[in-house]
Symmetry: C2
Subunit: 669 residues, 2 copies
């Protein structure tokens, strides 16, 4: 084994009399929020409050004091705020309003509160009738020492107070009055000397903007937006759809890659290994003679057209999200310009993508650990900066789990240091710890396994995974109901109601959800049995725009998005609670926000009715057991009066697939 | 506020392309066991196994490999052991047998398993009928690169294997055979280059000897051991008691301070502020003209007598625990020799101990932060080393929470680095976080609030505090049933049965428990109403030896200690589970060990019978619902046959205060 030759032996720290730990007057521990001991930032959203907590104490009976130092994004220096002590919890806390997007930093400092300790003890002595005079000399000494250690600011005040305390000619009452002066207490706040001050490590907090907390996404292929059969869709065609998508209530319009598509080894329709003449190829095979990741596919229009689309979307209250797929078609310009960025095989050829025995010959991956790593990583970052210059602020990142985790930590931080408002959505479907790691390392939001969770048995544990700390500190799930790669069997077989059910779940279980176009039209035909791929997928061919279809669920989409916008309970993470009931076919959950209490019940069976008495947390709401209360279905406007801790729900798919019930909490009986 | 002038502003680390994180090929996280992210060691006992776990992964489909590096106490260098991968849990683990007492260190290393990845992919290609020849060249390149990076050991093997793989003249089958050679796989195990290797921080584990895990303690004042009234007891008198204490089943004999007792401001009987002639003073007022912390009180005997006692105790299977009380009487030699080690007040006097308005004039505390801190701390450490030289290996530390936490971390580590077998018991009664902090910082075992927890309502949450991680990683409770300072009202008023109840609880709830002499004789008279102090406490006066008393509970003690020694379930921490039942007066719990399943039920009411159906975890034991099983009371030898998941318990204090039932698990029905 070659350990010895590769790295020096591990070092085990030893505590010596000289080491910093041996000088710590107070203990600081249990600092929150902190993820993996501060290795990663925790995440919050704009407008939230950061609740800082710490355990701070010392030996003996002395009082301690503490403060939080914090630095807002972009600020030059740290500000400070005292920490308050909660005696019951034996914990120090402070609240910091997060009023700016970006990376915040904080640390905690604690010190023995020497003068306040003196003052409290003096009070006890006086109350017990003891002679205070010797103690007043001690207090004066303390004040003088403090004045020397901190010559600025209050030093003069401290010296003059010391003189009054030590004035043995004056009556003790006057000296005590000086000692108990409230202004003096304020002037002595803070550590008396550097050796008294203990500082924690620095912890970081990433604050993201609201669209990352709450948004409805719509995914479409620009080239399929032409209303004329056979004509390649353009950015202008996408613009034409904006009013409709805005009216349906979407916030983000996500476009798969818009770059020139490689011609070498281009895939044909339905992923055929060889393209036929006229086949348009997969947009994820990025780069051709027309350019690479910073060019647009000429058939879609010009860069100017794209910028126009970004502005037009904004005018309609929509943001454009771009795909960021770090891979190249074999004819991407970089393959020739920078062969050193790719894996050159022993036989001199450049390795295409593969997951043996599968081969993806229309794509070549970067060798992220090549000798020219630093230039390659910068070039990858610069792609993002290029599109940010063109107005893009949201990136959906393709398969991040197949690129180094260290790259993501660096790249996302680099971009957000300059543009903290940028949002990154991780499209990783891999083992849970890797998905979580990507979120820890910087992704703002993340795809999930939601598409594959359809039964109560599957959904409940899945949802609970997101609800437990520390996952809640950094992982924000994005529930896509379908994607160009995932048409789940449940949708294939469940008919229109399956779409309505999945839509309702996606939009009411989490604040950020999305559909891929065709979902609202109930497109449900797979390329073959047991495949989750669409038949004649637009990943590989041109389509003609369809806006409606018989039995489409567009009205469900519109209504759902409207209800979401009107109800803060649906706009925040971390307020979901599963409700008890005894039907295997229902999913019932509570979404709570001050003044907005919602009970959602969804029948997971698209065909048969489901019914149950569902738990209502009336005690938490302050509703008495016998007190009637009104529940109002936000989807239909219907109202019922309930009583007690169980509500009867019957969902017949012929009528409806679910309730979104607002519980009108009555005045206390 | 004076922050700027005291410390430089906090530094926020930034990830650059050059930083170490940007070079990490694999992610290492979630390493266990780790306490506060590795800030403190976790604790184990000799003979246990350390289960190391880690999450280790990289991007893409490549395999990773990992190992743990570990160093045993006293060893010069680290050893290594591969980590094994559990696919279900997606976790890497290794078990290290902890066969030596002291401070262990470990870290984890991970790297991409390049050759195994190549080999697995090659197999898939071959199975799919693809041309393997180009891949064999890749494999050869990998082997050559590895040989260059690691020129020792297997380099020759690797180069010759590379030649076989790359031999284009040879049949592909022969080249494949070379690639799949099992010895070759072994030879390639390990990182291929330093840049592939990611190493975790170093974590530590303190392994303590068995007496810290399992022991029964007896506390006595040597000066009270004289059988002749009015004569000062001696170490020889203590020796005379050893056979009896060994027969009662004790393992540790704990002595309050044995040093010369100060005469200045000596306390009188019943803590009178002024001593009368002949009053012996409190042993905790350490130091007089005869010497300080390294001297013995002349009335007890000589240092040689003490050493003789230590050896005699060992011969009887007992260890002596000494009190370590870091405080001085005003006439302790150090007060004159080292006035700089104490707090000199503004009026030139040395400050005595106080907690205003209370004054403890017979004691002066050290100023642990004095200018000569380093010499003082070393002098304090040297007290321990002195007694260790005289054979002491257990110290009961008086009031550690009134000395700096940083001192303890340094001092205990210093001593255990030289004498890892030394055990430190923390006598801190303070707020829970401080008690826990002392344990984290190095105390082997700790006093608890047990004496004040007497009802089911008090006991159950108290017991659960110790059962939750991470407390289980470092806090080992020691349950004293009484102490010279704590005669709880429950014992004062409950009569003999109260003593039997508390004894049974202490000895069966945790593996380390103790009594202070007089408990077994049911001494129950407080100095006054609402005081927990004993009347005529031997803290302040000479007593004459009493071995027995009418209605004493010595037989209970003997029987309990015997049962404890015979039953491993009572010898380990972390195997306690509270059992459900509906009596407010019963406490019922399970103690489990492979082959030793115990159900303990105690009636907490010393007067009235209590009864309940107590939960029996038959399912976990593999007992069928209708299957009969025998329970045997280890205190009396009685046997009953039970059936089902509830056992009927009725405890009438006239007959018994509790059961310790061994559940004889029958063969599966």
């Amino acid at each position: 084994m070659s350990r010895a030759s590769l790295l020096p032996p591990p070092e085990v720290p030893r505590i010596t009399l000289e080491s910093a730990r041996c000088r710590e007057r107070v203990v600081l521990e249990g600092i929150s929020p902190a993820l993996d001991g501060g290795r990663h930032p925790v995440k919050r959203f704009l407008g939230e409050t950061l609740e800082v907590g710490a355990d701070i104490f010392k030996d003996g009976h002395d009082l301690v004091a503490a403060r939080v130092l914090w630095r807002a994004p972009g600020a030059e220096s740290f500000e400070e705020q005292p920490l308050a002590y909660d005696f019951e919890a034996d914990r120090w806390t402070a609240s910091l309003p997060l009023d700016r997007v970006g990376r915040w930093a904080f640390c905690v400092e604690g010190w023995p509160d020497r003068f306040r300790t003196f003052r409290e003890e003096l009070k006890k002595r006086v109350d017990a009738g003891q002679d205070a005079a010797p103690e007043l000399l001690e207090g004066a000494r303390l004040l003088r020492a403090r004045a020397s250690a901190d010559p600025g600011g209050a030093a003069a005040t401290l010296r003059s107070a010391a003189a009054r305390l030590a004035d043995e000619a004056a009556p003790v009452e006057a000296r005590l009055e000086a000692a108990f002066d409230h202004e003096l207490l304020r002037a002595t706040w803070g550590p008396h000397a550097a050796h008294d001050l203990v500082r924690s490590a620095v912890y970081e907090v990433v604050v993201d903007r609201t669209i990352a907390r709450f948004s409805a996404w719509y995914e479409l292929f620009p080239r399929s937006q032409s209303p004329v059969e056979g004509r390649h869709g353009t950015f202008q065609d996408v613009e034409a759809r904006l009013p409709e998508l805005a009216e349906l209530g979407f916030d983000v319009l996500y476009l798969p890659p818009i770059h020139p598509i490689g011609r070498a080894h281009r895939k044909g329709r339905n992923n055929a290994p060889v393209a036929r003449p006229g086949d348009v190829g997969s947009p994820w095979a990025i780069g051709a003679v027309e350019g690479g990741h910073t060019a647009v596919c000429p058939e879609l229009g010009t860069l100017g057209d794209f910028e126009h689309l970004v502005r037009a979307a904004r005018d309609h209250g929509l943001e454009i999200a771009l795909d960021y797929a770090l891979q190249c078609a074999p004819d991407h310009p970089w393959v020739e310009e920078h062969p050193e960025w790719f894996h050159v095989r022993a036989d001199g050829t450049i390795r295409h993508a593969e997951n043996p025995p599968k081969k993806y010959e229309d794509i070549v991956p970067f060798d992220f650990w090549c000798a020219d790593r630093e230039r390659l990583w910068e070039a990858c970052r610069d792609i993002l900066l290029f599109w940010i210059q063109r107005g893009v602020r949201i990136f959906r990142v393709d398969n991040p789990h197949t690129k180094p985790l260290a790259f993501w930590e660096w790249c996302l931080a680099e971009v957000q240091a300059r543009h903290p408002e940028v949002v990154f959505l991780s499209e990783a479907f891999t083992r849970p710890k890797r998905m979580l790691a990507l979120a820890k390392l910087g992704f703002t939001t993340s795809y999930t396994y939601f598409t594959w969770k359809n039964t109560r048995e599957e959904l409940e544990p899945f949802l609970e995974e997101y609800a437990r700390p520390p996952v809640t500190e950094y992982y924000r799930p994005h529930f896509f109901a379908n994607t160009p790669d995932i048409l789940h069997e449940y949708l294939q077989r469940g008919g229109r109601n399956a779409f309505r059910i999945r839509l309702l779940l996606a939009g009411t279980l989490v604040p950020v959800y999305g559909i891929y176009s065709g979902f609202e039209l109930c497109d449900a035909t797979p390329v073959r049995e047991e495949s989750e791929e669409y038949l004649d997928s637009e990943k590989y061919e041109l389509k003609t725009l369809r806006r409606e279809a018989p039995g489409d669920v567009r009205e469900d989409v519109r209504r759902l998005n409207l209800v979401r916008r009107e109800h803060p309970a649906l706009q925040h993470l971390g307020n979901l609670r599963l409700l008890a009931h005894d039907s295997p076919h229902l999913l019932a959950y509570w979404r709570s926000f001050p003044g907005d209490e919602l009970l959602v019940a969804v029948n997971l069976d698209p065909r048969e009715p489901a019914e149950a008495f569902v738990e209502v947390p009336i005690e938490a709401l302050g509703i008495a057991p016998e007190q009637p209360y009104v529940v109002e279905d936000l989807l239909t406007g219907e109202r019922w009066t309930w009583r007690g801790a169980k509500g009867w729900v019957r969902l017949d798919p012929k009528e409806r697939v679910g309730h979104v019930l607002r519980v009108h909490v009555p005045e206390p009986a």
